[in-house]
């Protein structure tokens, strides 16, 4: 929404020397943020009105023409113009020789396209109507040729307020409502809204327009008036300039006038050709009805769409756009002027479904004041009279108020005001704040009864806190002294998943020196296909950011691989962690889980098992640290979705009976599919699922006392076929029961020619000792014999 300060000045006598920057800042701090403040500085000198006497095409140019102008005092000049439309007998804004505007400098006589061009017909953009660009501006024929145009007419400041920040304030969608705020901010009076009296519009001798509203919820009020004598006369220059300053291109007198009222009061209006529309019915569209709107588009309607009809024929898409067929044309003699109030949700749905967001629909969506329907018509006549000397009212103001709204009164307890803003506010001050905003305050026992003005009563102000907000913002948020709250102490049960997530991040970034990254929680389908993954499973977005981004991720890996590709040239090793949500299709409801991806990669081939072992080791440490338990690794079953998991070198990680995740290496084929350069890298990764672990709790690891009697370490190397797993050996080893065995740990996994190509040697270390005596000669030997016997019985060969 663009706000012209000149426009505001017509409703509030702001001091001449007011700094627009101060105004914008105070408006920001009290009402709504001003996003931008721009001067319209034309610096016009010597501009006059000229009358077009004739227009000649130029042989030398297709874009330029020569206009003969009456510049007053009986003088005529010829000037060359680029304006696409020049109307004969119309007034134009003219810069005679020696006149100037800021963007063009001083205008002189010039030779253009073989003609001597005297002065210049000024295009819209040169005088502050940017939307008009090269178009000439026709200021209406009320002024004599040669009349000077005051420089002040062109000067203005424009504030831009983001529509989103006033979505709750329909009253601010018009300059009068904004002026009310500004008047209150500066403590200045707001002038009454300039309108003709109702008496003038209520002549009982004039006919009434028939208005029938079938759905009062959808259209609470419809007001209309028949007007004749609205010729094709353009709007006055000041009106065109103001519209130009707020980003509207002047179009025609009538359109400019309704646009002006929309920007003035916030009430959209529509004009029908009364020959085609002489009575009004407001009703829902027929199912599958086709209707051609003003823009020439055929719209496919449903019974949810509200229509304006006349004699059963649709003539406008209510609150959104008029119909092509009933459009006002040059031949129109009498207008039927519509000023109505519609249900916001109805308009919003129709505009949304048809993708037809108009200035009118944007306002109707915000819950407009039903009182404005009549006020807008009064304002229309007020503004139209000076423009159209032949203006005649052909009807009474006809007003169907189908669903009257109850006045809103809010009860406010001054104690609640004090509690919220932090200090007491005397009633006098409450009145001083609320009165200029249109509220009426009545004292009623200990409470205040606040009558809400109709333009704030459409949902904006309805309960006590809404009034407290009005008070708080005018007291001034920036004058409020900050005070820390007084609170009650209580314990909150911690969120276990969040705690585990944060501790997991802290652990792996510190201990394993991983770097945390963030990626998107949807797959990139192109990338997935390159990896050989079919992304089209799982949870799907209805409106993805772009095509190919609709599938929610089921693993952290694809995006982490993409991040690896991004980093591969800059670092000899890339170690990353990402924490995030993954999603699984399920009914009745899709599921989401919290996962952690760990990726460890380094330049150079054949290091993947090293990286893989490091990942296993750091995952084991993480499990000890957070759960006081050991993880186990075993060959994982193939996951058909996660084709990046190595078919034979993916280990399932378990913690007790909880499936924690997997750790794997990336084979050459996949590395090459990621990127040719990664063929020469080694990559390992792990993915951990956190949700189930969060509730696991931490087993407390009690500490041991220093042994009273010395212990000895005895190592055992066990020769096994390469087809047998470490886990099998561990199972056998830990099955032994011996009073002197304190603990067993893993030392190494050795392969070499000495033991044969199909075997490996696993070495374990036992700690042997007694808690109540010193070992005697023979104890260690007896233990060794017992262990060897145990292993041999279990089918293992001891390496000596």
């Amino acid at each position: 929404m663009l706000i012209s300060i000149n426009w505001i000045r017509s409703f509030v006598d702001l001091p001449k020397d007011i700094d627009p920057r101060d105004l914008a800042e105070r408006f920001t701090r009290t009402t709504a943020e001003v996003d931008a403040l721009e001067p319209i500085h034309i610096d016009a000198r010597g501009l006059i009105v000229a009358r077009v006497l004739g227009v000649d095409e130029l042989a030398e140019s297709r874009n330029l023409r020569c206009a003969t102008l009456d510049v007053g005092n009986g003088r005529t000049v010829e000037t060359v113009t680029a304006a696409p439309v020049i109307r004969v007998d119309a007034n134009v804004v003219y810069a005679p020789q020696g006149a100037s505007v800021k963007t063009l400098g001083t205008i002189n006589e010039a030779k253009v396209a073989g003609k001597t061009s005297v002065g210049m017909i000024l295009p819209g953009e040169a005088i502050g109507i940017a939307e008009a660009t090269q178009d000439a501006i026709f200021p209406g024929n009320n002024l004599e040729a040669g009349s000077p145009l005051a420089p002040e007419l062109f000067e203005d400041w424009v504030m831009e307020v983001d529509n989103k920040s006033i979505t709750n304030r329909p009253d601010l969608w018009g300059h009068y409502g904004v002026a009310r705020e500004i008047a209150a901010i500066y403590g200045l009076p707001l002038k009454p809204y300039p309108v003709v009296s109702m008496d003038e519009l209520s002549n009982p001798a004039s006919p009434e327009i028939e208005i029938a509203i079938a759905d009062a919820d959808a259209c609470p009020r419809y007001s209309a008036l028949l007007v004749a004598g609205v010729a094709t006369q353009p709007a006055p220059l000041w009106m065109q300039l103001r519209l130009g300053h707020v980003g509207q291109r002047p179009i025609s007198g009538l359109v400019d006038l309704t646009n002006y009222i929309m920007a003035d009061l916030g009430q959209p209006m529509h004009a029908f050709d009364a020959d085609k529309v002489d009575r009004i019915e407001v009703a829902r569209a027929k199912d599958a009805e086709r209707f051609t709107t003003l823009d020439g588009m055929e719209r496919h309607l449903t019974t949810a769409d509200l229509m304006i009809q006349s004699g059963g024929r649709s003539v406008a898409l209510a609150g959104v756009m008029g119909g092509l067929e009933s459009e006002v044309a040059e031949s129109t003699v009498t207008l039927l002027l519509e000023s109505a109030n519609f249900n916001p949700a109805t308009i919003r749905k129709t505009a949304g479904r048809l993708g037809l967001r108009t200035d009118a629909s944007a306002r109707f969506e915000k819950s407009l004041d039903p009182a404005h329907t009549v006020l807008a018509i009064q304002r229309f006549i007020e503004l139209a009279r000076p423009m159209y000397s032949n203006l005649v009212l052909k009807s009474r103001l006809s007003d169907e108020f189908a669903k009257t709204s109850q006045p809103v009164t809010v009860s406010v307890n001054p104690k609640h005001v004090a509690r919220t803003i932090g200090h007491e506010l005397p009633t006098s001050e409450i009145v001083n704040i609320l009165k200029p905003l249109g509220f009426t305050v009545t004292e009623k026992d200990a409470e205040l009864s606040i009558a809400v003005p109709s333009y704030r009563a459409t949902g904006d102000v309805s309960i006590e806190v809404d009034v407290i907000e009005e008070l708080a913002r005018f007291v001034g948020y920036n004058t409020i002294e900050p005070v820390m709250p007084r609170v009650s102490v209580r314990r909150f049960e911690p969120n276990a998943v969040h705690e585990l997530e944060q501790r997991t991040l802290a652990y792996f970034t510190r201990v394993h020196a991983l770097h945390e990254i963030h990626g998107y929680c949807w797959y990139d389908a192109t990338w997935c296909r390159q990896l050989g993954v079919d992304p089209e499973q799982g949870v799907e977005l209805a409106n993805p950011a772009s095509a190919g981004l609709q599938w929610m991720r089921r693993s952290m890996m694809p995006s982490m691989f993409a991040a690896l590709v991004r980093n591969r040239f800059y670092f000899p090793e890339v170690k990353m962690i990402e924490l995030g949500s993954v999603f699984e299709y399920a009914r009745p409801q899709d599921q989401q889980f919290r996962n952690v991806g760990l990726l460890s990669a380094q330049r150079g081939k054949r290091a993947e098992h090293n990286l893989y072992n490091e990942l296993k080791g750091s995952v084991a440490g993480w499990a000890w640290e957070h759960f006081g338990q050991s993880v186990t690794f075993s060959r994982a079953a193939t996951d058909p979705h996660a084709i990046w998991q190595h078919p034979t070198q993916t280990a399932a990680i378990r913690l007790g009976d909880v499936d924690v995740g997997i750790v794997s290496v990336v084979d050459l084929a996949l590395r090459r599919r990621m990127d040719e350069h990664l063929g020469a890298w080694s990559i390992a990764f792990a993915e951990l699922r956190l949700d189930q672990l969060a509730t696991m709790g931490r087993r407390i690891e009690s500490l041991e006392s220093i042994p009273e009697f010395p212990r000895v370490d005895l190592d055992f190397s066990i020769l096994v076929s390469k087809t047998r797993a470490y886990a099998e050996v561990v199972d056998a080893l830990t099955a032994i029961e011996h009073p002197l065995l304190q603990r067993i740990s893993f030392v190494s996994d050795f392969e070499g020619d000495a033991i044969g190509a199909d075997r490996r040697s696993l070495t374990f270390r036992t700690v042997v000792g007694a808690n109540d005596r010193t070992l005697v000669d023979g104890d260690a030997g007896a233990f060794r014999t017992a262990m060897e016997q145990h292993l041999t019985t279990a089918g293992f060969e001891i390496r000596r």
Partner: protein, 366 residues
């Protein structure tokens, strides 16, 4: 051996030790020599072993003489040991004069958390100190929790403000962390102090300052007699903690359906200091903390008795705050996983040479 002979032998052993000691140059040699004298097979050691060969009545005197000798020899050795050690020390001291103390150390590999996580942790710690609990909620939310429970009914124009990612199931990717307000009220009731950091999603065109995926921290405090001054004090503390200095605030009205009154708290731009730059759109202010007093409808939806309790809520743009703190100018780097932009170069490549910071130790210039 008679006692006289014994005494002579002892004397000669002691004399021999005293004579040889000055030539012993190393601690190892000294230990060797000591063993050679008082060890089992050493000259004095042999005498000790021979004590039991004397008649019982002489053993006392012999033992005494030999043991005294042993103590004296040990004292001589100790004296020489001290000399050798102090010589070592001065030798080390000599080497130290050419020892370059200004060299950097060997670094341990260091990981790093994402800039957003770093700021998130600071905020979590700051609020935990004030007795807040930290909550989280799901990123895929029900429409009810994301909108209705927060006083945003189906046809509310505020839904325009939240360009939403919808899932085919009818769920939404949460557009803000505010659903956690509702979840926390139901989980804990009042009084309540909770913050909820997390990821949010908006259907936006991505550019240098807009992202589809970003982080917020929701804050919610519900207790008796909670006021706007309380809210402003909390916001000021929060921003000062994160920026590690006092910040200037500008408070202005803001509209969010789940608060009333609703405010926007701006912080003076940390990039330009308030003078105006591209980041703050020349205004000198950065919109950082939308907030307000919790709307009674939201409290009621969360089962809170509005006659007793009131509260405030805020949602800090965590991503925006991280960008301010670490001077990140393009939001897109945060989700791109390029470590060059996410990790301080010191953590990636070790010491970075800096002008004038390592001069004092070696007395050089800069």
């Amino acid at each position: 051996m008679t006692i006289d002979e014994l005494n002579k032998t002892i004397a000669s052993i002691e004399a021999d030790v005293a004579a040889r000691l000055p030539d012993v140059a190393t601690v190892d040699a000294l230990r060797g020599m000591e063993t050679g004298v008082i060890g089992k097979s050493g000259s004095l050691g042999a005498l000790i072993a021979s004590i039991k060969e004397y008649p019982p009545e002489q053993r006392g005197a012999v033992g005494q003489a030999v043991n005294k000798a042993k103590v004296r020899v040990q004292a001589l050795v100790k004296q020489r040991l001290d000399e050798l050690e102090s010589a070592d020390e001065s030798a080390e001291a000599g080497r130290s004069s050419t020892f370059d103390t200004s060299l950097p150390g060997s670094l341990f590999p260091m990981g790093s958390v994402h800039p957003v996580t770093a700021v998130q942790w600071e905020i979590e710690r700051a609020f935990e100190r004030l007795g807040f609990t930290v909550e989280a909620g799901p990123e895929m939310e029900t429409e009810y929790n994301n909108f209705e429970a927060l006083n945003i009914p189906a046809d509310h124009p505020a839904r325009d403000m939240q360009d939403t990612f919808w899932l085919k199931s009818g769920m939404v990717m949460r557009t803000h962390t505010s659903p956690v307000q509702h979840r926390s009220m139901l989980k804990f009731g009042a009084p309540l102090r909770v913050i909820a950091p997390g990821r949010c999603f908006r259907y936006e065109t991505v550019d240098a300052s807009h992202e589809t995926t970003f982080h917020q921290v929701e804050g919610l405090l519900i207790d008796r007699d909670i006021s706007i001054p309380n809210l402003i004090a909390m916001a000021k503390m929060l921003l000062a903690e994160v920026m590690q200095r006092e910040v200037e605030l500008r408070v202005r009205p803001g509209f969010f359906p789940f608060v009333e009154p609703g405010i926007e708290i701006d912080m003076n731009c940390q990039i330009c200091g308030g003078g105006g730059c591209a980041t703050c759109k020349r205004s000198g202010w950065i919109e950082i903390l939308p907030a307000g007093m919790v709307h009674p409808n939201v409290l009621r939806a969360g089962g809170i008795d509005t006659d007793i309790y009131s509260g405030f809520a805020f949602g800090v743009g965590l991503t925006r705050l991280a960008m301010m703190k670490y001077q990140i100018r393009d939001i897109r780097v945060l989700n791109a996983g390029d470590l060059r932009a996410l990790v301080s170069p010191r953590r990636l490549s070790g010491p970075i040479l800096e002008r004038g910071t390592s001069s004092t130790a070696c007395g050089g210039g800069d």
